[in-house]
Structure formats: structure tokens, C-alpha cells
Symmetry: C2
């Protein structure tokens, strides 16, 4: 709440500059929320009980919900999003870095609120980096076990300094990359406000824009390529950024997931670009740029739009529907299933063909030259199963609420994957305004579950969690 309240204040200078009418709303709401948060914090100061595994699941889950519940208030109080359901949807879409929006006229919002809307994504991205690289590995979630040689138990002495140290370094990189993008976007002709807010939502792979037309509002190849580059970077494992920023490129070329990610994105983009060009979409550069932009945008789960892929033909509705499940690398700000899991599923599936022909041979799955344990494979199998099960359940409920097949399938996939645009009535040039109220709460839940790598939320619903 303290973070929420203070965060709301940062947009005020822009509102003052642009003479908007949301200054008092942001000031009063922000200070009130921060003050209440401060009082609660002070009253809990003497509460010294150890935080154990179970509590940490509850803290992470309820933290994201509380941030969104309070973060939605300025929109309602100001009146620019009168319905609390809509405001909550928009805000949890921010904090989960999804980017799905219910707004029909984004430009009508005052700058302070627009700043706050983008800032929720930046904060969410910040949270997710630390969660996925420092906290979840300790809980055994998120596929990052693969990168951690020794996962320490949750002892009181070790966690705190470790998380704090890791968090500081990661946030340094995150801030640095955000400022670098801002500078480049200003160079490309954006004003400070747009450059800053779009850098927030790029680095978070969030995808909220300050324009209804999203990035298509800027007809500048330079701006498009800058955003493509930073979306791609945001979809990388942030622990890799340490190395290449210091010139240790070998760490990149030796990383199986990074190579898979790079070749996947390039491969898909080139195939689409050739097809678009052959069908007379535009010149070579334009075909390649739009294809690369939309592929990187959807694969990294950012969700920016420069061209509506649904207008490229019925085939692309299916292609981009499938890409909604891709996701960037583990330890990035991206959502969905993520590269490393796809890669291990593919490796295991190819190995199985060898195993059938040579039943006595031991053919393990390897990743970064190390053997992947059966425990990790069982975890990935469970993750994929839950992912599909939750997706199907979400889609079923949405269709019960009256959504058509394609929109239901698209809305469930894009929110669970934290992407943003889907297909059908929630496609890239449309939005979530017309989803029924109950559907908006279901989709909010899907965003949360997807963002927190499923298990963080699912364990809370398991029987063993509540056993003594």
C-alpha cells in the first residue's frame, strides 16, 4: 500500500505540466493509501513470527491482489473509469504486466492517470523479476531451479540478505535499460511523457500504451526497431543481462534457452514476413518490420500493436493464437509457458523416439550441458497440464457467460499468458470493454494465476496446504 500510494504521486508533475484535472485525485488517494499502509506497517513492526513457506505463498498472492485492489481507486475516484470492476481489471492487467484494457478512448484520460497506469506495469515487472529469480526458486517454482546450482532452504538467516542483494542488482539493470530506452525513444521523436511510459511498459513486457492505436500511432521505423529491441531484451532472462552488459557474450551464446528464443523469434518472423511480402502487404522492410514487431510483441507477451494480425488473413488468427502460449525466457518479465519449458518438452519428446528404438539405452534430457532431473521434468509436465486445464476451464466459463468460441478461446489464452490482445472480439484492434462483468473477474484471476507461475496460487487451493 505504501508503494501503491507513493507510486500514484509520480504522475502529478505531468498532470501539472499538461494542466490536467487529476492532480487532487492522485494526491489525495495516493497519500491516503500510503498513510493507511504506513499505519498498518507500524502496527505490525513488533510482529516477529518467522515467515515460512506457506506464508510466503499467501504473501505473494495477496500482495498482487492488494496492489491491484488499491491501485484501481484513482481511476474510480477521478471518474475516468466509473466501474470498479473495470478499474480493477485495468489495474491487475497492469500489475500482472498483461496489458489487456477495457478503455475505448485512452487519449481522453489525464496524463497523471495514464502515467500511473503505465507505472503499475513497471512495478509489476520489477516484482516479477525478483519473484522469479530470487523467491520462486527457493519455493521450487518457475523452472528457474534449472539455473540455480543449490537451492537453499528457507532459513531465516539466509533468505533476507540473499533476496535483497539479488533484488538490488536486478533492479539496477531494469532501471538502466528503462532509461536507455527512454533516451532512444526521445531521440526518435517521442516526447518525454510517451517515451517514459512506453519504456515502463516495454521493459515490463506489459504493453499498455498511451494511445488507442498503440505503437501504430508512431509511423517511425526507428521507434519500432527500438521497441522491438527492448521487448526482446525484456523477454530475456535478466540474470543474463549482467554478463552481456559487461561484454561477456559467451554467456549468451552458451545459453540453450537464449539461443532457442533467438532462433524461434527470428524463424517465425522471417516466415511471416516472406508470406506477407508475397501477398503484397508492402515492401520488404515494412513486411519484415511488422512481422518482427508482432512476433516479438506476442512471444514476449508484451502485446503492443503496429498492425492488426487478424487483418492478415484467417491463417494468422491461428498462428497468433498459438503464439499466445509461447512466452519469453524464464527469469524475464514475460508470461505464458516460456521458452525453457517448451524446449525441454521438445527435447524429451524427441528423446522418446530414440528410447523406443533403443529401450536399454539411458538417454537423458540435457540443458546447458547438464542432465535435467526427473523432478524437473515432472514439474514441467505438471505445469503444462495445469496451464492447459486452467485455460480450458477459463474458456468454458467465458462461453457459458455468452462469449463466442473464438473470443473465449482468445481471451482465456491471452490473459493466462499475460499477453494483452487476443483474437476475435478481444483482438488487437478491439478491447475487453464488452466482456460481461463476471467474465472480467474470471479474466483477472487468470492474469494473476498466469503471472505467478500457476503453482504460487494453486498450492493455496490444495488440501495439503491447509493441513497442520
Amino acid at each position: 500500500m505504501i508503494l501503491d500510494g507513493i507510486g500514484m504521486l509520480f504522475g502529478i508533475p505531468f498532470s501539472l505540466y499538461y494542466e490536467d484535472n487529476d492532480v487532487s485525485t492522485l494526491l489525495e488517494t495516493g497519500l491516503s493509501i500510503a498513510a493507511i499502509g504506513g499505519l498498518i506497517f507500524a502496527s505490525l513492526k513488533n510482529y516477529k513470527k518467522d515467515i515460512r513457506k506457506r506464508e510466503s505463498y499467501l504473501i505473494v498472492g495477496s500482495g498482487w491482489i492488494a496492489m491491484s485492489a488499491f491501485g484501481a481507486l484513482p481511476f474510480v475516484i477521478h471518474g475516468s473509469i466509473p466501474s470498479y470492476t473495470d478499474a480493477f481489471f485495468e489495474t491487475i492487467s497492469g500489475f500482472t504486466t498483461t496489458g489487456a484494457s477495457i478503455l475505448n478512448d485512452i487519449e481522453s484520460l489525464p496524463h497523471g492517470l495514464l502515467f500511473w497506469r503505465s507505472f503499475t506495469q513497471w512495478l509489476g515487472g520489477m516484482g516479477i523479476i525478483v519473484l522469479s529469480l530470487a523467491i520462486l526458486p527457493i519455493l521450487g517454482i518457475g523452472g528457474m531451479q534449472l539455473f540455480v546450482a543449490e537451492v537453499p532452504g528457507p532459513t531465516k538467516d539466509k533468505i533476507h540478505p540473499r533476496i535483497r542483494e539479488t533484488a538490488k542488482r536486478l533492479w539496477g539493470i531494469y532501471l538502466l535499460l528503462t532509461l536507455a530506452e527512454t533516451a532512444l525513444l526521445i531521440t526518435g521523436g517521442m516526447n518525454l511523457f510517451d517515451a517514459l511510459t512506453h519504456s515502463f511498459t516495454t521493459m515490463a513486457t506489459g504493453g499498455f500504451s498511451t494511445k488507442q492505436a498503440s505503437i501504430a500511432a508512431w509511423d517511425s521505423p526507428f521507434i519500432h526497431y527500438v521497441i522491438i529491441f527492448f521487448m526482446f531484451v525484456a523477454g530475456m532472462n535478466f540474470s543474463l543481462h549482467y554478463y552481456w552488459l559487461r561484454g561477456a557474450w559467451k554467456k549468451l551464446t552458451g545459453n540453450d534457452e537464449f539461443k532457442f528464443y533467438l532462433f524461434f523469434v527470428l524463424g517465425v518472423s522471417i516466415v511471416i514476413a516472406v508470406d506477407l511480402f508475397l501477398h503484397g502487404y508492402g515492401n520488404v522492410e515494412k513486411s519484415f518490420r511488422d512481422s518482427l514487431f508482432q512476433t516479438v510483441s506476442i512471444v514476449t507477451t508484451t502485446g503492443y500493436v503496429t498492425s492488426d494480425y487478424e487483418t492478415w488473413g484467417a491463417f494468422y488468427q491461428i498462428v497468433f493464437f498459438i503464439l499466445l502460449f509461447a512466452g519469453g525466457c524464464a527469469g524475464s518479465t514475460g508470461g505464458a509457458i516460456k521458452m525453457v519449458r517448451h524446449q525441454l518438452l521438445i527435447k524429451n519428446s524427441l528423446n522418446e523416439l530414440k528410447r523406443l528404438l533403443h529401450p536399454r539405452a539411458v538417454i537423458p534430457v540435457r540443458f546447458n550441458k547438464k542432465i535435467v532431473s526427473n523432478e524437473v521434468l515432472a514439474n514441467i509436465m505438471a505445469f503444462s497440464f495445469w496451464y492447459i486445464a486452467i485455460f480450458l476451464a477459463g474458456m468454458l466459463i467465458l462461453s457459458l457467460l455468452g462469449m463466442d468460441f473464438i473470443s473465449a478461446i482468445g481471451a482465456a489464452a491471452t490473459t493466462l499468458g499475460n499477453v494483452g490482445p487476443g483474437i476475435g472480439t478481444v483482438g488487437p484492434s478491439l478491447n475487453f470493454a464488452n466482456v460481461p462483468t463476471a467474465g472480467k473477474w474470471i479474466l483477472s484471476f487468470l492474469m494473476l494465476v498466469g503471472r505467478l507461475e500457476l503453482f504460487t496460487i494453486l498450492v493455496i487451493f490444495s488440501k495439503s496446504f491447509w493441513k497442520k
Copy 2:
């Protein structure tokens, strides 16, 4: 080819009785194919090379293709299906026990050809039982490893008597159940021809009917319940039939997959029945019967129709789309993913939640009270991955050929799962006549891959298969 040729002759008595014009076609084509087959067989008699693993994959795959390639000839020669593509599609849909049809007016076909069309499914079902219960376990495919305590290596001495012995017993049961259903359907008012052909296609979970309206052509609750019972029985593991036919019911109640299958089918049917009844679909019995019929029909991958579920509302389009992936039990004539795999995926996914909370505890997945090995889990993981990958690839190609999203997704799912009807333009009251020619070949391939438990075909495409 010998089997194919002789099989074509069995329908001739019906054609003579009904004075149809296909007697000479069936006689000449059947005898020619059988004769050519006989000549090839005689010339190969002195070929004594051992059949090894690799050869057995090729034999199974090419066997199914050859049966369909020759089996399609009578339709083309008679002229009732002029296009060879269509005839091949219809015949491989038969031998794979799928039941997807390109016929717009089934009743216009002469009885001999209709008999042959149903008989292809019965033969396919016969083949699949032996394949899944006697041959694939030796190759390590199909999930039946779970039921076989010791899988013997493919040594020359052991395979032959073992397969022959198992096959004889299974075919005895298959024949017995087919005759029992025929007798009951005649009791219910069907004529001998319809009773026999529908028993063929029920026991094979095939779904070809001699009527364009499928089972809806008979407005008899008795007939519907008889078919429901035998579809359910055909979806059970055939090795279980040994036991309950002899009164050993404990073998049923102690079988985890059977219990899961039973409760799944009943659970889904009751929920749908209540919903149909509440929406004024009909009286309690009619709602329950149609719901049970369609659920059993799709879950067992039979594909008969008494009521078009697409007219029940958009929600049911999604429900039945999902059910296309269910499948009956391993060792049945059903296709798709099958109960045991779903069950183990669910068990592993629930276990993973426990493992996260108790990382030091060893929590194995159990099935029929035995611990499931990591090898079996890796196999199921690979199977599910390939299943989804092939489904998505099929759907992508179909949409490239011009099919719309819903029809493409439905056609790929229903052929890979060997079900029959899909959703959209290939829904229960429509057919595959309007699928583009290239699409029919793609769908034929999907039927074959799905029928042979994926791996039988996939290994042939793997690098290691062709290595010395």
C-alpha cells in the same frame, strides 16, 4: 490384400437380397485383390529374414495404408464415390475406426458397399485390439506397459506364439460382443443388415452408419440404450472383458482406469443432462439419454449421432471440442489420448502441489496400487506433447488451405482422435465432403497417426530409425 479382397465379398449376399447393382464390382475387385495378394504372399514364402523392431514399425504403418489404398477401389470402380481421394478418405476413416465421412447421401449406396464400409471399421477394430494389447507393448508404445508386468524382448521364439494366443482370445471376445449387440438390435426392431453393420461399427468405436441421420434414424430408446452400452463396452480395456464375462467383477472395481472412465462418462453426462433439461430440451429421460449417448459416443471416439450437440448452444461446441481429446481406455478400440494418460497427468499434477509443500518427501504417482516409473511418465509427457503438436500443425495446414478457425480446429481434433464428427462445417449434422482435396490427405494422415498411437509412425520419421 488377401484379407481386403475376401472382406469385400461378405456384403454380396445382402446386395443379392436387396437386388443392388454392386455385385459384380465387389466380386471382381475382391477376387482380383485377394489373388494378387495371394501371389505376393506365395512369392514371399521363402523369405526367412527375422522381423526386428524397425521392420515391425514399417509393417504396421504400411499395412494400414495398403489396406486403405486397396479397400478404396470398390467405391471408385462402382462409381458411387468417383474421386479416389474421397474413396481413400472414406476407407482409411474406416480402417482407423474414425467414422469421418464424405458421403452426402449414404442411403443411395448399394448394400454390398455399405456392408464393406462398415466391415472396414470392424477389421480396423480387430487390428487395433491386437496391436495395442499384444504388439505395441513389446515395442514400448501405447501406455499398455502399465499393465504388462514383464515386457519380453522381441526374440524370435517368444513373439509369435504369444501374439497368436492373445489375438485368438481377444477376437473371440470381440466376435461374441458383436453378435450379442446384433441380436439385441434385432430385438429392438432393426433389420439384420442394419443390426450387423451397426454392431460392426459400435464395437470398433468407428461410428459409420448406414443412414445419413446416423442413429437418430431410429426413434427407439431401447436401440439407443443398447448402443450406449456397447459403445461403453468397446471403450473399455479388452483384457478386462475376460474377467467380467466370467463374473470376476472385482477385476473391474479394482481397476483405476475403468473407475475413472466410468465416473468421467457419468459425471459429464449428468451435468449436461441437467442443463439440457433445465433449458427445456425435453423430459428427464430424453435429456439424459441424448446427453449420455453423445457423451459416450464422443468420449469412446465412436462418433454416432442422435442429436446435434452444436444445436444445444455455443457452450456445447466448446464442451464437445474438449471431449474430442478424451478417448476411451488403453487396450480398447477407442482413439485419442485415452483415460489412463489423462489420469496419470492429473495424478502427477496434483502430486506436484504436495511436492512443492514437502520438497524432501518422495511422493510417487501410483496406478492400480503400483508406483508408476519415471520412464512411463516421460513417455506420457512425450505422447501428450506430440499429440498437441500434431494437432496444431494439422490445424495450421487446414487453415492455410482455406478452412475457417472453428472447422479447422474441429477437423484436426476429430481425425487425430479417430472420433468422426467435429465442430463447425465438419459438425455432427455435416460432413467432410467440402474439405479441399489436399486437406483430405492431411486428415487421412492424422487419422493414421492417431490410430497407431503416434509413435508407431513418428519413429519412422526420426533420424535414429535410419541409422545403421
